[in-house]
Every structure is written in C-alpha cells, then in structure tokens.
C-alpha cells in the first residue's frame, strides 16, 4: 500500500501536525519504507485469532461513585501557556 504526498498531507492534517514542504517529501519516502517493511504481516495466517488489546487479564474493582478529587484549579492551570479568569485561554474559536 504505497503512500503519496497527498496522503501524507491528509494524515498530517488528521494528526494536527504542520509539516514543512521538505519535511513532507521526506516523510513520504520514510513512511513508504516503513509501511513496506510492515506489510510482511499480511502473510501471517490470523483466520480465527481474536485481536489482543490487553496482556494481563485485569478486572477492575468497583468503587463508590463519589468525587475523590477537585478544588485544585490553581494546580490545573499552573502550566498553561495562557490562562485567564480561571480558564485556559486559546485563540478565538467562533468566527
């Protein structure tokens, strides 16, 4: 499954990742190499195999549905690049 510059631009958009033009071309080459190498998996017979998404069979314990945290607005905002009036501040969202 070969990837072209257009696909790389689309995926970069999905990932919210700005790539410089020369970065994009290099990425296309590298992704093709890596995906070409990964493609060997298609040859593995996985007919009846169930996909694995957890390595240890862990059942979570139940707990009471109560607030266990909170009142730490200052901590939450302490590392924000921009905060105002107790909120995170971002560029205008609504035009």
């Amino acid at each position: 499954m070969a990837v072209d510059d257009k696909m790389v631009a689309r995926v970069a958009g999905l990932a919210r990742l700005k790539l410089a033009p020369e970065e994009g071309a290099k990425m296309t080459r590298e992704l093709n190499n890596i995906l070409g190498w990964i493609d060997q998996l298609q040859a593995v017979e996985t007919g009846n195999t169930q996909p694995m998404n957890a390595v240890m069979p862990i059942t979570r314990e139940w707990r009471a549905d109560v607030v266990t945290d909170g009142n730490i607005a200052e901590d939450v905002l302490a590392n924000a690049p921009e905060a105002a009036h107790g909120f995170f501040a971002v560029p205008k969202v609504i035009e």
């Binding site: 790539l19 590298e30 060997q40 996985t46 707990r63 901590d75 590392n79 971002v90 560029p91």
Partner: protein
Amino acid sequence: MSALTDLSLAKMQSGLAAGEFSARELVSAHVSAVEAARPLNAFLVETPDHALAAADAADAALKAGTAGPLAGIPLGIKDLFCTKGVETTAASKILQGFKPRYDSTVTEKLFAAGAAMLGKLNLDEFAMGSSNETSAYGPVISPWRADGSSENLVPGGSSGGSSAAVSARLCAAATGTDTGGSIRQPAAFTGIAGIKPTYGRCSRWGVIAFASSLDQPGAMARDVRDCAIMLEAMSGYDPKDSTSINAPVPQWAAALNGSLKGKRIGIPREYRVEGMDPQLEALWQQGIDWAKDAGAEIVEVSLPHTREALPTYYIVAPAEASSNLARYDGVRYGQRVTPPGGSLNDMYEATRGAGFGGEVKRRIMIGTYVLSAGYYDAYYLKAQKVRALIAQDFERAWESCDLLLTPTAPTAAFGLGAKSADPIAMYLNDVFTVPASLAGLPAMSIPAGLDSQGLPLGLQIIGKPLDEQGVLDAGHALECRAGFTAAPQHWW
C-alpha cells in the same frame, strides 16, 4: 573517583546502617560525580538540593531508627516520570518548562522510602528511540569507549541517560521505562543490569505515556540484587492506574537464589538469526553453559512468530502513541506556537509541528495512518491479531520450560550517528526485546561479557507472568558465573 560511588546499592544500605559513612557523605560524593560528568549529557536537570535534603532526612531517620529501605540512596530518575516541582519534559521541546504539580506513583514510593533524587535523566524524545539520539536536548554519550578509540558511542535507548549514569557511577540505580526494550537494550550497551517487570507491576500513573498497552517502569542498577531492591520499592498496586496488578509485591531481594536446580531454561530457536555476530552467539552458548552449571535443564523451544514481532510493534506502538500524544496541543501545558491571526486549529498544527522532533512525528504519522478509516483493519486489527499469536507462542513455550535465555541486543553499542539515517536499521535493535514486551512478560538483561573491542554484551532472561523472582534468580546465577566487573574508563 571516590570509593563511595563504586559501592553497590546493597553495600550502600549496609554501610549507612553500620554508620561507616553518612548519607550526606554518600550523596555529596554522587552530586560531585554528576557535576563532573556533564560531558555525558546524562542529566537534563540536576537536583542537588533535593538529594542533599533527602540525605539529611536519611541521616536523622537512621539515627532515630525510622529509616526507610532506600534512605539516603542516590538515584537518577528518567525524565518520563513526573516529579513535583521539577521540570519534566520527556526530552521533548513541546514540554519545555513543564513543572508537574504532583509526583508519579513510582517516584512517590521511592521518595517515601527515603531515596535521594540527583536529577532527571535524559532519554529519547517521549521514549521513542534506541540510541538516545532523538532527545531534543542532545544525545547522551556513553561512558564506554572501544579499546584504544575515542569515538563517542550511544548508551542505548530510550533509557540512555539512566544506563549512562548507572554505568558511569553517577548514581546507585535509576528508574527506566520499557516499551519495546528501552530498559534492557541500554543496560546491555553499558554493562549494567536492568529489569522490566510484568506489565502492571509498576504503576504507570504520572509516567508520560508513549504506548500504554506496552509501557512499563522498571529498574536499572549495576547488579541483579540492586535491581531487585529497587524494583521492590517501585512496585505495587495503584488504583490510579487502570492496568495495575492487584497482587502483593514479593520480597525479591531477600529471596534471591542463584541455584537453578529443577528449572528448565528454554532456548528459542528463532532467536538464532542469520548473520548473527559470532561473538554474540558464543556468549549465548556461554550463558547456556552457565545455566547448566547452576543446575538448570536446557530445552530447545520454538517461538514461531518471532520474526513478526517487530513489524507488529511498529503498528501497535505508533498507533497508541498517536492517540496519547494528541494531548499536546498547546492549551494545557508545555509550549504554544500561535501564528499571527491564526485560528485554534492553526495553533494546534504550528505548536505540534514546532514542538515534536523527527522520530516522534514519524511515529505519530504511522499511528494516525494505521488507525485511519480504510486502513484500520489491514494494519491495526491485523497487528493486534498477530500480537495474540506472539503471546500464544510464549504460553506454549511455558509448557516445556520455566524461563527463556536469549541475547539482549543484536550488536554492542554503535557510534553516534551510525544508524540515525535509517529508521528501520534503528528499529532492528529491539528485535530480541520486543516479543516479551508484546506479551507483557517480565524480562531482564544482565552484563555477561565484553566483545573483542572491549564493549559490553548482555544476555536476556524472560519469565512467566509475575515470575520476577525466577527472572532475577536466573539473572543472579548467570551474573555470578559471568563475574562481570568491567567498568568504563573515566575519560569525561
């Protein structure tokens, strides 16, 4: 170099308890060693104040008889663990200036046990790499050099600051994290021991996430006993980590036993890859002989999907990474880049474009691609199925053996820049470590010998789920027979 920095962690404990030296003396010697070793670039942040305050507290506690198990022990902390009030960047520009308001569960446990943090250790950016060259703050230089050479070598990765610092005698032990080999491969490259426990043994809470179904904290130290002591202090159930194992933590160090009588050690035939370095093959055979000498029975086993483990990993890990790293958007923490007059979306894209390095971008791109509509089944779902087959291979192997013995890495440490241009060549470093990661198994690397250039080589032991004791015991048995005492020559 002061003799205090050469002591094992266990010897530091007994020396402190016997009053042979104070924690202040012990920690001061290490603070000086850290300062003198800046050319290695192993530390991103030095925290001598934290270390000396912990030392004084340890001296008081030792006098009062209330000292914790790690009282006054100088440690390095991989900069993937959040530390309260101390900059934590995961070696990424995007987290520059981030000072967590809390400690990770693991560091909280270590500090509660009395440990003194010397600083935060360099790593590959977001733990993505096998040579510590992807750090946004420059590579770590290994304290090791080939005989008669002054070429700079890599310390392995991603826990390259940890491996360099422990091997250069800058700290007694260090925390590491292992997603596909990030504790074991750097341990092998620098002639130290490192253990990745069973997935879920150590809490991931407060550890900056790379690939959550694989990430696991672990211990790095100069011998197996020290790894056991360290791991004991780091492990335990944590309700704040949804994949934490609710099981008691055994006393691994106290139970450490170098006899392998009655143990069957499996040698997986698929790890005998074509073109394997004859020195590595000879060392592996040596390890087999040591295991026999310790009383083990050797059996040949098969792990048929070994070859597919690496490509599987390079779908699963980037997929999880692309999802985990979506949180770095310039809103809540870290760096922000706002193009003039730009929208919120422009800010996200510019922030991430400027904040992430090349390898991280590559993995976010692969991950986003394999999870995107139309490709999910062919890549991600397929990889999850092959992952299940890899785990089943191990389960089948456990029918005929108790532990597995393999090399840790396909080569000794290489020169800086030797593999940076070819991502796949770099990925192949983890060919022997990734399978156990995909199956969530405990595994460790022990220093087993030197190659003809005088560089360390490691052997890996893989165990059944929750059998860290078996892994440590086998590591101890091999270590006793290997008698590895080599240390890097002090050139820095």
